[in-house]
């Protein structure tokens, strides 16, 4: 029994690449889900996806300029992501169109530009690597970068937490206090871009969103409180990334998709049997009796 546990859960991590992969994905699991929770609460669940496309040309440019150097590629990704977010914001401000239409236009342009740039300078192998990542190739430099960015994000979220909450809850109140909600929204989008850049090495630009959104949408079925949502999302992200790594090791599957699919299974199960808003909750007939203490 012990031997079985050992061969399943312990021995895979005797390999250095598995240990680095684990640390990288745990760090991402700590930083990404809180951002996802806020995105879900703002009704901006798809923005993460759009942002993921936006960072691609930057990564490609970095790749063209400096070869396969993670810091340069990340820097390019962050710069380009912020630039596109800014452009989309100002176009919608100037034209009065809704922001989502401006974003949709810019992000798909970015994706095309990114693919174009990569194919100019590299092979299709490089393209696959950037689009889908390879968590098992995380080296020490990459690890330090990922963990550093994740720590920065966690610290910034903790610092700006109340501002983000109030901005989400009641932007008019915030404006009454003489603070433009746009500033906080801008910082928040910046954090999303940073996080996606940290995630692209491990999960690829397109799937880095998964670790942000899936735990957050899953948590919605289990908690009605903000702290609960964030806590559950982080724990689920960590479980999914550890489990996904193990699955990919034992069954010889690509690691990124394993992690995201495992997180997705959690989402589906929660949608069926979760505590709130799930299918099972719709049929539940148990209620709090009159006069009883509120369990919240």
């Amino acid at each position: 029994m012990l031997a079985l546990l050992d061969s399943w859960f312990i021995s895979p991590f005797e390999y250095g690449f598995m240990r680095r992969a684990l640390v990288a994905s745990l760090a991402l699991s700590l930083a990404a889900p809180p951002l996802g929770v806020f995105l879900v609460l703002r009704g901006m669940s798809l923005i993460g996806d759009a942002m993921a496309h936006a960072i691609l040309p930057g990564i490609a440019l970095g790749f063209l300029l400096a070869g396969f150097s993670l810091p340069v590629m990340s820097l390019g990704g962050v710069m380009f992501g912020l630039l596109v977010a800014l452009l989309a914001g100002s176009v919608s401000q100037m034209t009065g169109h809704r922001e989502d239409s401006a974003m949709a236009s810019f992000f798909i342009m970015s994706l095309a530009a990114g693919v174009m740039l990569i194919s100019l300078g590299g092979s299709s192998v490089d393209l696959t690597h950037v689009l889908f990542g390879s968590i098992l190739a995380v080296n020490t430099t990459a690890l330090i970068l990922i963990v550093g960015i994740s720590s920065l994000i966690v610290v910034l979220i903790a610092t700006l937490f109340r501002a983000m909450v109030v901005e989400c809850l009641d932007p008019l109140f915030l404006r009454g206090q003489g603070i433009r909600g746009g500033v906080i929204q801008g910082v928040f989008l910046g954090l999303v871009v940073l996080n996606l850049t940290a995630g692209f090495q491990t999960l690829g630009t397109l799937m880095a969103v998964g670790l942000m959104m899936l735990p957050a949408t899953t948590a919605r079925f289990w908690s009605k409180r903000l702290e609960g949502l964030i806590g559950i999302a982080v724990v689920w992200a960590m479980l999914a990334s550890t489990g996904g790594l193990l699955v990919s090791y034992h069954f010889n599957l690509p690691s990124g998709p394993s992690i995201i699919l495992l997180a997705g299974v959690g989402y589906l199960v929660s949608a069926l049997v979760g505590r709130h808003h799930s299918l099972a909750a719709k049929f539940r007939r148990r209620v709090i009796p009159l006069g009883a203490e509120d369990p919240h």
């Binding site: 609460l41 109340r162 008019l172 009454g176 003489g178 903000l226 919240h296």
Partner: protein, 248 residues
């Protein structure tokens, strides 16, 4: 009412809303420690004036002088921007009122929570402290929002139809609270449509009609329209000739 001090004054104010002039040449001042009822027909510019005072709308001409610091101004708009699906309890909402004194970064201390509980008791919503916002009735939500302005220590309170969709008991509680705030020196501006509420609440009245404003005392308004409220408690929609410019 305090001595005739005023921290909110209007000078030859002209306001436009989506390219249409709404208010012209409005002068006057809102007294400290007084509740001013803002009345007029739909579209007379009541909400527009409140938006302008809050700095959401730039005047076309003239100016608004407001000496109350920004963080002590509170505004309860008709159309709330409040996201009711946001997972937040009544107590947490009230605690966000500490923002002006406390900023975004510092944590709450025990004294704040004590004050929050006192405010909830005053408003009769202690039993709802941990209830999510989305599960409140209209009256309960209104009490919670007033709780936030109390926490904020608001010195200028702009209320746009605070009693719409609110039960009678809540109206009683809120009227009491508003009188107390005025007694403590706060300036209150309340958009009203109801004679009975006006008689219970207002120290002064500003009527808007046809793009112009006139100041009056509640007595003048109530005296002129005393016969009406019982059946149709709507306020006069046009200027009666007998009412003269008050404290303008």
């Amino acid at each position: 009412m305090h001595a005739n001090n005023s921290r909110l004054r209007l000078h030859d104010l002209q306001l436009a809303q989506s390219g249409r002039m709404v208010v012209e040449h409005l002068d006057g001042r809102f007294l400290d420690g007084a509740i001013t009822a803002l009345i007029g027909a739909n579209g007379a510019g009541k909400s527009t004036l409140i938006q302008a005072i809050m700095g959401e709308l730039r005047p076309m001409g003239g100016k608004i002088i407001c000496d109350v610091p920004k963080e002590r101004r509170a505004w309860l708009p008709q159309q709330l921007a409040l996201d009711l699906t946001f997972p937040m309890s009544v107590e947490e909402l009230i605690m966000t009122g500490t923002w002006p004194s406390h900023g975004a970064l510092k944590g709450y201390c025990a004294a704040h929570y004590r004050q929050g509980r006192k405010i909830m008791a005053r408003l009769g919503i202690s039993h709802l402290a941990h209830r999510p916002l989305g599960e409140l009735s209209g009256g309960q939500r209104q009490r919670a929002l007033i709780g936030r302005t109390l926490m904020q220590g608001a010195e200028l309170l702009l209320l746009d139809e605070p009693f719409a969709n609110v039960d009678i008991e809540t109206v009683d509680v809120l009227i009491d609270v508003f009188h107390d705030m005025a007694k403590d020196g706060a300036t209150l501006v309340v958009v009203l449509h109801d004679m009975e509420q006006l008689s219970r609440l207002a120290d002064e009245v500003l009527m808007l009609a046809g793009g112009h404003g006139r100041w009056a005392s509640p007595k003048e308004i109530l005296g002129r329209y005393a016969g009406q409220p019982a059946k149709a408690p709507r306020l006069p929609l046009t200027f009666p000739d007998s009412i003269h410019v008050g404290s303008a």
